[in-house]
C-alpha cells in the first residue's frame, strides 16, 4: 500500500485540519460532548477508581502470563468446538481468513467493527481476491462507502457531517437528494444492511474480550450488527489481537462496566454478545493475531500499552486529537494510544506522533485501564531521538540551548541579549516568518533587569 511508504507529518496535517476553523471546532465539540458524557458516568460510580485499579491489575497479570492464558484459551475454545488459528502478522492473518472463506465458497462477508482487521488491511486484501466485504457498523460502513479509513476507533465516522452522509447515501444508496435527517438516513442504511445480512455467506467479527477459562469470546456493539452478521451464515470468523485475553469469566464484569462508560458514556453497550463455540451445525474460527504485540510485550517501557481495551476515551479527551482529526495520525489507531502503538511498528514513519502532544496527561487520567499514556509518549520521544529520527534543526536547537544553559555566565549574557532585542528590535525583524511563536501570539514584554539582577539589588530585610 502506497500510503505506508510516506512519513506521517502530523503538524502539517493538523494545520490543514485547523485551517477550517468552523469544522475543527465542530469536531472538537462533538468529541468533548462524548468526554462530558463519560465524566457523568464515571462520577456516578463511587468505586470508579477502584474499578480502574482492578482492571489494570487484571491486565498486568494477564499480559505477564500471556503465553499460558493463550494456550488455555486455545484448549477451552477447541473443546467448545471452535477452530483456533495463530497468525504472526497481518499477512498471515489475511491469508488464514481468505483460505477459510475460499474453502466455503464465500462471495460476500458481513463484517462488524474490528480495528484488528483495519490494522491488517483485510478489506482490500479480500476484495483483491474477489470477495465482497461489507462493514455493517453504520459508521464503518459510511467510511467504507467513502473509500477512506476510520478516523476514530469507536466512532469511525465522527469526522463526517450528516449533510455529507446524506450526499453520500444519495449517490451510493439512492436516498433523496439533500436529505440530512439522521433517522431517515439510518433507516435507509438499515434497509440496505438487512439485505447484506440476508445475502452474506459468512460473518466476520472482532473480539472485545476472550476468556481463557471458558474459551468464550465477547463482542460488544450498540447496533447488534455483530449478532445479525453471524446469525444466518453458517460461518463465523472472529479476529482478535492476542492482548484481548482476560483470565476468568468473573473478570468480565470489571471491563464491561468500564468499557462503555469510557467509550460513549453509556452504562453498558447495547449488545454484549457471548459466543461459546460455534452455533449448531455452524463453524466458528478464532484467529489470534500477534502483528508486533509480542515485541511490545518484551519492552518494559511500553508493555502497559497492551492493557488497552480500545475504548477511545484517550482520543475523546485529547485536546490535540480533537483539533487535528483522526486522519492526521495516518494510522488505524490514532490519538494518544495510537501515538504509542504505531511508532512501535514503524518509528520512522510515525516519528512525529509522540510530539503531537502537549503532555497534558489527560489521557492518563481518563484511561480505564490506567495506561501511563503521556509518560510513554515522553519515553517514545527519548527513543526517537536516540534512534536519530529527530530533525536536524530540533537536534541543533537543543544542543545549542543545553550548551548555553550549562554555563551560567553565557546564560546571563544570552538572556540580556534576548531581552534587549525584544525591547529594541523593530517588529518587522521580531515577527518574521522565521518566528512561529509570533504568527498568532505576541512575544513576552521583556524587562530591563532579570530576576537575579533585581534579587541581588533588593534591600536586605
Amino acid at each position: 500500500m502506497a500510503e505506508e511508504l510516506t512519513v506521517v507529518d502530523h503538524p502539517r496535517a493538523a494545520a490543514k485540519f485547523v485551517r477550517d476553523d468552523a469544522r475543527a471546532h465542530w469536531h472538537d465539540q462533538a468529541l468533548w460532548f462524548v468526554r462530558v458524557k463519560r465524566d457523568r458516568m464515571a462520577q456516578s460510580l463511587p468505586e470508579w477508581e477502584t474499578l480502574r485499579a482492578k482492571a489494570a491489575e487484571i491486565k498486568a497479570h494477564t499480559v505477564g502470563h500471556l503465553a499460558e492464558y493463550l494456550e488455555q484459551f486455545e484448549r477451552q475454545a477447541t473443546a467448545l468446538g471452535a477452530k483456533v488459528h495463530w497468525a504472526a502478522d497481518a499477512a498471515e492473518h489475511n491469508q488464514i481468513v481468505l483460505d477459510i472463506l475460499q474453502r466455503h465458497g464465500v462471495k460476500q462477508v458481513a463484517k462488524s467493527k474490528s480495528m484488528l482487521t483495519e490494522e491488517c488491511h483485510l478489506n482490500p486484501f479480500l476484495e483483491r481476491h474477489g470477495i465482497t466485504v461489507v462493514d455493517t457498523d453504520l459508521g464503518e460502513w459510511i467510511v467504507q462507502l467513502r473509500g477512506e479509513p476510520p478516523s476514530h476507533i469507536v466512532l469511525p465516522a465522527i469526522h463526517i457531517k450528516k449533510e455529507e452522509v446524506g450526499e453520500l447515501f444519495h449517490r451510493k444508496l439512492g436516498t433523496e437528494a439533500g436529505a440530512t435527517d439522521p433517522k431517515y438516513l439510518t433507516e435507509a442504511a438499515r434497509y440496505k444492511l438487512r439485505q447484506v445480512f440476508l445475502e452474506s455467506q459468512a460473518g466476520i467479527t472482532g473480539v472485545n474480550f476472550a476468556i481463557a477459562e471458558t474459551g468464550g469470546i465477547v463482542v460488544c456493539t450498540n447496533e447488534g450488527n455483530a449478532d445479525l452478521g453471524v446469525s444466518l451464515p453458517k460461518l463465523h470468523i472472529a479476529c482478535m489481537g492476542i492482548e484481548k485475553l482476560i483470565p476468568r469469566a468473573a473478570d468480565l464484569g470489571v471491563f464491561l462496566r468500564l468499557l462503555a462508560r469510557s467509550a460513549t458514556g453509556q452504562p453498558i453497550t447495547t449488545y454484549s454478545s457471548h459466543f461459546h463455540g460455534p452455533a449448531p451445525s455452524g463453524e466458528l474460527h478464532i484467529v489470534l493475531v500477534d502483528n508486533g504485540r509480542s515485541s511490545i510485550l518484551g519492552n518494559d517501557d511500553y508493555r502497559r500499552s497492551l492493557h488497552c481495551i480500545r475504548c477511545g476515551a484517550c482520543m475523546n479527551t485529547c485536546p490535540v486529537y480533537r483539533r487535528s482529526g483522526g486522519h492526521s495520525y495516518g494510522a488505524t489507531v490514532p490519538g494518544p494510544i495510537g501515538s504509542i502503538l504505531n511508532p512501535a511498528r514503524d518509528p520512522g514513519r510515525y516519528a512525529t506522533l509522540p510530539y503531537a502532544c502537549s503532555l497534558c496527561g489527560s489521557c492518563t487520567d481518563v484511561c480505564p485501564v490506567k495506561i501511563n499514556l503521556h509518560e510513554q509518549l515522553l519515553t517514545w520521544r527519548r527513543d526517537i531521538a536516540a534512534a536519530g529520527k529527530l530533525s536536524w534543526s530540533k537536534q541543533a536547537a537543543m544542543k545549542a540551548a543545553a550548551f548555553v544553559l550549562a554555563r551560567p555566565g553565557l546564560y546571563r549574557l544570552a538572556g540580556k541579549v534576548a531581552r534587549f532585542s525584544l525591547r529594541h528590535l523593530p517588529r518587522l525583524l521580531l515577527y518574521g516568518p522565521w518566528n512561529p511563536w509570533g504568527r498568532q501570539r505576541e512575544l513576552p514584554r521583556a524587562p530591563r533587569r532579570s530576576f537575579r539582577e533585581q534579587y541581588a539589588r533588593r534591600p536586605k530585610p
Binding site: 503538524p11 493538523a14 494545520a15 485547523v18 485551517r19 468533548w32 465524566d39 464515571a42 462520577q43 460510580l45 463511587p46 470508579w48 485536546p319 490535540v320 483539533r323 509522540p354 510530539y355 502532544c357 502537549s358 503532555l359 497534558c360 496527561g361 489527560s362 487520567d365 515522553l378 520521544r381 527519548r382 527513543d383 526517537i384 531521538a385 536516540a386 529527530l390 530540533k394 537536534q395 537543543m398 544542543k399 540551548a401 543545553a402 544553559l405 550549562a406 551560567p408 546564560y411 538572556g415 531581552r419 512561529p436 511563536w437 498568532q440 501570539r441 505576541e442 513576552p444 514584554r445 521583556a446 524587562p447 533587569r449 530576576f451 537575579r452 533585581q454 534579587y455 541581588a456 533588593r458
Partner: protein
C-alpha cells in the same frame, strides 16, 4: 526559620522577574529565609521533553548539586517542579542525594498549604479571577483533583485564592483543559497550540474573567501572547503576584 532555596525557572528569571519577587515576598511573609543560588539556569525540561536526554542529563546533575544544601526548594511553577520530582529518576538511578532532594522540592502553593500549613492569605483582590489549572501542576503534582478522576474535590491553589477578600471566580465550561503551550509543542504544532489557547481564552471571556491566573507562567506567556495579539480585555497574573498583593495593571484605554 527554614532555609529555602529559590528555584526560579529560567524564563521567569529572564522575562517575568516580578513573579520571582512576589514568590520571595510570600516566603518571607510566612517566615522563610530565602537564598537564590546564582549558578542555577534551567532544570532541563525543554531538552527532556524533546527526547534529548543526553542534553538534559548534565542540567539535571547541575540542578541537584546546586540545590542539595537547602531545607526546602520552592518553585513558582508546577511544570518545573514536576520535572525535578517525577522525571529526574532516569538521570540518577536511586542516587541518595537526589532521593533526599526530591522529597524537599515543592511548587509554591503546595509548599504554602502542605508544608507551612497556610490556611488563609491576608489581603483583598476584588476581581473576577479565572484560574487556569496548569496540567503538570494538576496531573503530575496533584495540586487539585482533575476532572477525569473520581473522588473528593480539592484544589490547593484555589483554596489560597479563595481566602482573599472580594475575590470571585469565573466558572469555566472546561475546568482543566490544556492551554496548548506544551513547551516546544507551542512552535512545533503551532496551529493546534494556538487553537487550544484561543479556545481557553474564549472560555474565560464567556465566564467573565478579568484576571487570568495560573501556577505556571509558561501557560500564561502563551495565553497572554494570544490575548494581547487579539486585544482581549483580560489581564494575566501569576498566582504568586495575586497572593503577594500586587496591583492589577490597568487595561489599555480602548477597553476602559
Amino acid at each position: 526559620m527554614p532555609r529555602v532555596g529559590l528555584f526560579i525557572p529560567c524564563y521567569v528569571d529572564q522575562f517575568y522577574p516580578e513573579v520571582g519577587l512576589a514568590t520571595v515576598d510570600l516566603l518571607h511573609r510566612y517566615g522563610c529565609d530565602t537564598d537564590y543560588p546564582t549558578a542555577q539556569t534551567c532544570c532541563g525540561q525543554p531538552m527532556a521533553n524533546t527526547g534529548c536526554v543526553e542534553q538534559a542529563a548534565p542540567l539535571a546533575r547541575r540542578f541537584v548539586e546546586i540545590f542539595a544544601q537547602y531545607d526546602y526548594v520552592v518553585c513558582p511553577s508546577g511544570s518545573c517542579t514536576a520535572m525535578v520530582r517525577h522525571h529526574y529518576e532516569e538521570y540518577f538511578h536511586g542516587d541518595a542525594t537526589y532521593a533526599r532532594l526530591r522529597e524537599r522540592v515543592f511548587e509554591l502553593t503546595e509548599f504554602l498549604v502542605d508544608v507551612l500549613g497556610v490556611q488563609r492569605v491576608e489581603g483583598s483582590f476584588p476581581y473576577r479571577v479565572g484560574l487556569h489549572q496548569s496540567c503538570h501542576g494538576l496531573r503530575e503534582l496533584r495540586l487539585a483533583r482533575s476532572s477525569e478522576t473520581v473522588g473528593p474535590a480539592f484544589n490547593k491553589t484555589r483554596q489560597l485564592l479563595e481566602s482573599l477578600d472580594g475575590i470571585e471566580f469565573a466558572e469555566l465550561t472546561r475546568p482543566d483543559e490544556c492551554c496548548g503551550f506544551g513547551g516546544t509543542f507551542a512552535v512545533n504544532e503551532e496551529a493546534v497550540s494556538c487553537m487550544m489557547g484561543l479556545d481557553r481564552v474564549h472560555d474565560h471571556l464567556q465566564a467573565g474573567t478579568q484576571v487570568l491566573t495560573s501556577n505556571d507562567m509558561s501557560c500564561l506567556m502563551h495565553l497572554d501572547g494570544l490575548i494581547r495579539r487579539q486585544g482581549q480585555p483580560i489581564r494575566v497574573m501569576h498566582v504568586a503576584e495575586i497572593l503577594a498583593g500586587r496591583a492589577v495593571e490597568p487595561l489599555p484605554k480602548r477597553h476602559a
